[in-house]
């Protein structure tokens, strides 16, 4: 039982990182960014190529491993951010300039997602590949009857650090102030001298950075694959809704809560493929019972 909770917790941390991308974009544009799953995928591939070409064997010294890991982290984060910004540039901005109806944004984002997905499938092959992991799996600790690996600890630390920085970035920095301003009222923000286009691009970049890193972690824990972003992104959206879409802390907590809620029933059902089914049922349930999520919807107001 406790091992299922731990599993859920660590999966939930990844979801919460992805959920941040949805929440930020939703807060600013009031749109679900369907292309976010491909941000994960591109982060995963960036991490894969970084490690594949630089990590010579599995016996690297500890310092090299740490450097490799940090490098992969930055590579996948940056690639994720760049992909997210490209999506914004090509699938969103031309429509925004024209003041297009909302439906067209959703469709063009789906198109972008689909293009990226199959482009990756064509370029990198359609078979799953697994990157060499710089995180040794020899370290295991027994905590409360469940074994926790070094990978889990690293994941926890990275997520918390990133969340801390994003919180500071959105709540304290100048970019964050303009993000919140645009989320509240785009026109007024423009009048106050906020550059709306670059603010939106920055929002995508922050979400994309987190998404790319989440992609790296997914790749390290399982495989990298052109289709890898789809299910985690769907669940991460559920997490964002669960926490209250548009709410940064909500995304964090929502991810963890969702992860635990999803894994614990597996303890009884004992059929791992039910995870997405449970996650999705949670989404419908949340929409039915409490559509504002646990913490309410508010990027502009409190965040």
């Amino acid at each position: 039982m406790s091992s299922y909770i731990a599993q859920g917790l660590f999966a939930g941390l990844i979801y919460s990182m992805v959920a941040l991308g949805y929440t930020l974009v939703y807060g600013v544009l009031r749109l679900i960014n369907f292309a976010h799953s491909e941000v994960l995928m591109s982060g995963g591939f960036a991490g894969y190529f970084f490690l594949h070409y630089l990590m010579k064997n599995n016996n690297e010294p500890t310092l090299t491993r740490i450097l490799l890991f940090l490098g992969a982290l930055i590579a996948s984060g940056v690639v994720g951010a760049v992909v997210a910004m490209l999506v914004e540039r090509f699938a969103y901005r031309p429509l925004r300039r024209r003041n297009a109806p909302k439906l067209t944004y959703l469709i063009s984002a789906i198109g972008a997602s689909y293009f990226l997905l199959n482009f990756a499938g064509k370029e990198f092959g359609r078979n799953p590949i697994s990157p060499p992991s710089p995180i040794s799996n020899t370290f295991q600790w027994n905590v409360l009857g469940t074994s926790i690996s070094l990978f889990d600890v690293v994941l926890l630390v990275v997520t918390l650090v990133l969340y801390f920085f994003v919180n500071v970035l959105v709540n304290k920095s100048k970019v964050g102030r303009s993000i919140r301003a645009v989320a509240q009222d785009q026109e007024t923000a423009t009048l106050m001298g906020v550059n709306v286009n670059s603010t939106i691009a920055a929002t995508f970049a922050i979400g994309g950075f987190m998404g790319g890193i989440a992609g790296l972690f997914i790749g390290l824990s399982s495989v990298v694959d052109f289709n890898m972003g789809f299910t985690p992104a769907l669940l991460a959206f559920t997490a964002a809704v669960l926490g209250g879409i548009g709410n940064i802390r909500g995304a964090m907590v929502g991810g963890v809560v969702l992860g635990i809620c999803m894994y614990v029933p597996i303890y009884w059902i004992n059929q791992p493929f039910y995870e997405p089914v449970i996650g999705f049922s949670i989404l419908v349930l949340v929409l039915l019972v409490r559509p504002t999520g646990l913490f309410g919807e508010s990027l502009g107001r409190s965040a």
């Binding site: 749109l31 679900i32 369907f34 090509f90 699938a91 031309p94 429509l95 024209r98 003041n99 297009a100 109806p101 909302k102 439906l103 067209t104 944004y105 959703l106 469709i107 063009s108 789906i110 198109g111 972008a112 997602s113 689909y114 293009f115 990226l116 997905l117 199959n118 482009f119 499938g121 064509k122 370029e123 359609r126 789809f230 299910t231 769907l234 959206f237 559920t238 809704v241 059929q271 493929f273 997405p276 089914v277 999705f280 989404l283 419908v284 929409l287 039915l288 559509p291 504002t292």
Partner: protein
């Protein structure tokens, strides 16, 4: 706009004019030049490509370019001393005949891309095995047909642009272009030219030898039917333009073109012709077109008509459309005893259709009711999730669906009432035509029902909700009810399609119901024209042809799975450049236009009238 342009010495408009003229010359040259065949690219005929009359036409094009630019300059008074009142050119005949067109930067971009591609190919070619190899691309481009396509598209696009910019500046087009004969002829010629390239089965491209049909039998003539259909489309477009012009109003040009209405006689006649073609044409078509219709267009067209209700009529986005298709297919599999769990009684597929309708509709209502109370975009992601769930379950529930190994063999359609005998052995290739007729038999009543639905109170309510949900609510229209209704109707259509497809496939595999199907169907609806049934049919035909064409020609290492890449790109481009689709419904096109200038929403994706959390 024209002010800042005309100040430069050789501006974009001049470049457009010149390049169009050259393109026209080149097009003539290609059309009359040596034939490149599908199997033998021009490389063999290279020596004769740039010889004789080809040079003549090219020179003609260039001369035309020089003359027309010069005339333009003189007319605008830029190349002589400025006059008080610029002399009006007696006619801008030359520029218009060639449809003076294109954007200089477009051509420059094309040439530069091409050169860069060649350079990259030289540099990286050997190191990128089996990838997008530009060497292969170049070989493809050597095919005269591809040249023909590029030049022709360039020519036609620019002709249209030129007409538009001229019309914008002078208010009217030169007299002769307004004449009905010119327009109809131009449309017909355009359609015919396109067909020359579009039907890859024609043995010789861009060659007048095309006119001598090789086997002098009627079937050979009919096997070129697509060519005549394209020509017909072109003629119709010409007629449409003429009628549109007669029906001038204060609206902008683009909207004006949408305002003419055919007389009901014409309409009925057209439907009759279409019906006749739908029944007779597939028998005589070339194998390329038969395969396109049976494999790429048939069932997808059916699905698209159903999705059009959701996306086009109600303005919602449904990304899990394939889930209902899967439900229908598995219901049929269950009742024909093909699944590991046994049904209480075996049903003929004809009888499992009503069951499939009920199941799919119930699933649609259950999914739609909680979601549609909220923002419409939640529906998109919930349906996306639902599609994935159905796929995961079909894949993993070994003892219910048979899992990834597929189901057992599914029963066939059979009908044996006095007077009508019909059996269909779904798996056999020879049954393709019979299956097609079965599809038609379902499609025609559905088309009639959906058209009248759209013209009824329900359809008007959908339009009202799309345009302004608050206003609709204030008139007493229950938004939730009509949205759920649209969603459920779409779902049940998909369920019927699932039953039909399951019989054709014979064995169900979960991979038949992946997300790709939903997206492909969405593209058909979007590309053809949201909310217009004719548009959706046209969209299905064009995309079906495109996919078959890609498959048939296997361009640059094309695999079947790659089509989804092109489909994704097409979705973005469609949304940026033509969100209303190729042949939109009049009202839908106007909604998009209005939404962009801030009137109404053109979709039901925003918050419902009762507020976000009602």
């Amino acid at each position: 706009m024209s002010d800042d342009i005309t100040r430069t010495k050789f501006n974009r408009e001049d470049a457009r004019l010149a390049s169009t003229c050259v393109a026209g010359g080149l097009l003539l040259a290609l059309m009359t030049g040596p034939a490149g065949t599908a199997d033998a690219p021009l490389s063999s005929a290279k020596t004769s490509l740039f010889s004789g009359h080809v040079w003549g036409f090219l020179a003609f094009g260039i001369a035309l370019a020089v003359v027309s630019v010069w005339r333009r300059k003189v007319r605008n008074g830029e190349w002589v001393s400025r006059r008080e009142s610029p002399r009006r050119s007696p006619s801008v005949f030359v520029g218009n005949v060639m449809g003076a067109m294109s954007n200089a930067w477009w051509i420059v971009a094309f040439v530069v891309t091409f050169l860069v591609a060649l350079l990259v190919a030289d540099l990286t070619g050997p190191y990128v095995p089996n990838k997008l190899s530009f060497g292969q691309l170049f070989t493809q481009l050597q095919d005269s047909r591809t040249y023909g396509y590029i030049v022709f598209l360039w020519w036609i696009v620019n002709s249209i642009r030129l007409r538009r910019s001229r019309a914008a500046r002078h208010g009217v087009l030169p007299a002769f272009t307004r004449s009905a004969v010119f327009r109809v002829l131009a449309g017909g010629v355009g359609g015919f030219l396109f067909a020359l390239g579009a039907d890859p089965w024609l043995p010789e491209k861009f060659s007048f030898s095309y006119f001598t049909f090789h086997n002098n039998s009627t079937t050979a003539f009919l096997s070129h039917l697509p060519t005549w259909l394209w020509t017909g489309c072109g003629l119709l477009l010409g007629v449409r333009a003429v009628l549109a012009d007669r029906n001038k109003s204060t609206h902008s040009n683009r909207l004006r073109a949408r305002q003419f209405k055919m007389s009901s006689n014409t309409r009925v006649a057209l439907y009759g012709v279409a019906l006749f073609a739908a029944f007779e044409a597939p028998k005589f078509l070339s194998p390329f077109w038969q395969e396109a219709i049976f494999q790429q267009i048939g069932i997808f067209c059916f699905l698209a008509i159903g999705l059009n209700i959701v996306v086009g009529f109600a303005g919602l986005l449904d990304l899990g459309y394939v889930a209902f298709y899967a439900l229908g297919a598995y219901v049929n599999a269950y009742f024909s005893g093909a699944l590991p769990i046994r049904p209480p009684f075996i049903l003929n597929p004809f009888l499992s259709i009503p069951v499939a309708i009920v199941v799919a509709m119930a699933a649609g209502v259950l999914l739609g009711l909680p979601t549609l109370r909220l923002r419409g975009d939640y529906l998109a992601i919930v349906t996306l999730g639902f599609g994935e769930i159905v796929y995961v379950l079909a894949n993993n529930l070994q003892n219910i669906t048979g899992g990834a190994n597929g189901s057992g063999t599914i029963g066939n359609f059979s009908l044996n009432i006095p007077g009508i005998r019909f059996t269909l052995d779904g798996q056999a290739i020879s049954q393709d035509l019979n299956f097609y007729y079965l599809l038609l038999a379902f499609m025609i009543p559905i088309l009639i029902i959906f058209t009248s639905l759209n013209n009824s109170k329900v359809g008007r309510s959908w339009a009202a909700i799309r345009e302004d949900e608050v206003a609709a609510a204030s008139l007493g229209i229950n938004g939730l009810k009509y949205k759920v209704m649209a969603f459920a109707i779409g779902a049940s259509t998909s369920g019927v399609a699932g039953v039909l497809a399951s019989v054709k496939q014979g064995i169900l595999f979960p991979s038949n119901f992946a997300l790709q199907v939903s997206i492909t169907v969405l593209v058909l609806v979007i590309f053809g024209g949201m909310g217009s049934i004719t548009g959706v049919l046209i969209g299905s035909a064009v995309i079906g042809w495109l996919l078959q064409f890609l498959l048939f020609h296997s361009f640059i290492d094309y695999q079947d799975a790659d089509k989804y890449m092109y489909i994704g790109a097409l979705l973005i481009l469609a949304m940026i450049f033509r969100p209303q689709g190729l042949w939109p419904a009049t009202r839908r096109a106007r909604e998009f236009h209005d939404a962009e200038i801030g009137l109404g929403t053109a979709d039901a994706v925003g918050e419902p009238a009762e507020g976000p959390l009602a």
